[in-house]
């Protein structure tokens, strides 16, 4: 015997908001059409660059946490990451892309951003 359906919460608005956020994280596919092909491709390329940048950043964090970087190396790595981040900001502005548009679903690893 199946019991009657229960839907119970004290905070329906809060859950609706979160469900909408989850559903709106990203469009499921690159929207490339003759009118916006440039932006569509830029989005794809910048997403991949962002993935690589995040991986570099994570690697750097692990090395900082491990204490294996000298002061000189810290400055060098920091400056490189700073310049990379600034360059990405510039490119995003040029193509009118927002952070949340440069996202990738990495399966079991979750989303890129």
């Amino acid at each position: 015997m199946v019991m009657e359906r229960i839907i119970e919460t004290d905070s329906p608005e809060a859950f609706i908001e979160e469900i909408e956020k989850v559903q709106d994280v990203l469009p499921k596919r690159i929207d490339a059409n003759p009118k916006n092909v440039e932006k569509g491709l830029a989005r794809l390329v910048l997403t991949l660059i962002e993935l690589i940048r995040k991986l570099l950043e994570k690697q750097a964090m692990r090395r900082v946490a491990g204490g294996s970087l000298s002061d000189e190396e810290i400055e060098k790595v920091g400056l490189t990451l700073l310049k990379l981040e600034n360059k990405m900001k510039e490119l995003k502005e040029i193509f009118g892309l927002k952070d949340e548009e440069l996202n990738l679903n990495l399966g079991p690893l979750g989303d890129l951003i």
Partner: protein, 262 residues
Amino acid sequence: MKIYAYGIIDSHHRLEEPIAGLYGKVIYNVSYRDIAVAVSELNEETKKIIDACILEHEKVVERLMIKFTVLPMRFLTVLNTREELLSMVEFYYEDFKDNLARLHNKVEFGIKVIWPADTIKKRITDAYHKTIRVSLPTEPPGKIFLEEKFKKYIIDKEFQEEADRCVIVVDDYFNKIAVEKKLKRLQTESLLLNASYLVDKDRQNEFSQAFEQLKNASSELKFLFSGPWPCYNFVTLTKGPAPVDYFNPGDILDRLLKPQEQ
């Protein structure tokens, strides 16, 4: 004329009671060996099937569940011909049989948990500032940038670990009652847990009581409990991905919950 599919059932006999499907069309069986697909005919273009029809889809699955074990299919599963439908069932027949046996007498429950993400982040940040030296503005820019990034990295890491600990506590209430579970952690910063649990029909009350206990024990957390549902999230196909993803709709329960809450 296309075919709209609602679910796979563990019977190849004709449906005895008439059930109305999308746009009032009668549900009938397309059988293959000892199982069948519950379908109705579809004149409308798929694009024109509106979101509100999701409730009708759900109602059909629930009606079928009264008499049969059902593998509920994704909302908007449309096949072009009877042959296409039969070839899909033939291909996945063994998988369908395994799933029908596994999901016999089972239902699904959903638990969503919101936690006070901002308060927790602030607590972690305050603790971080007490233990780590903050770099001075006179220091080289690369170092300042890297230290800022490192601070964010440590706070995020601690936030994730705190979420892991909290999910274990929540899951512990249901772990022994459920036969299977799917846990999605931190889909957003505030949505700590979005969980689906597969539960024996005769343990539903026990599951609901476990939720009441959890609710009474946690003042910081907000909960959304729902169920029993058809087993939308627990159909597993081992024969590789279907050409079209017919099962595991993922967000169907979220879509069903929204209109009922508003």
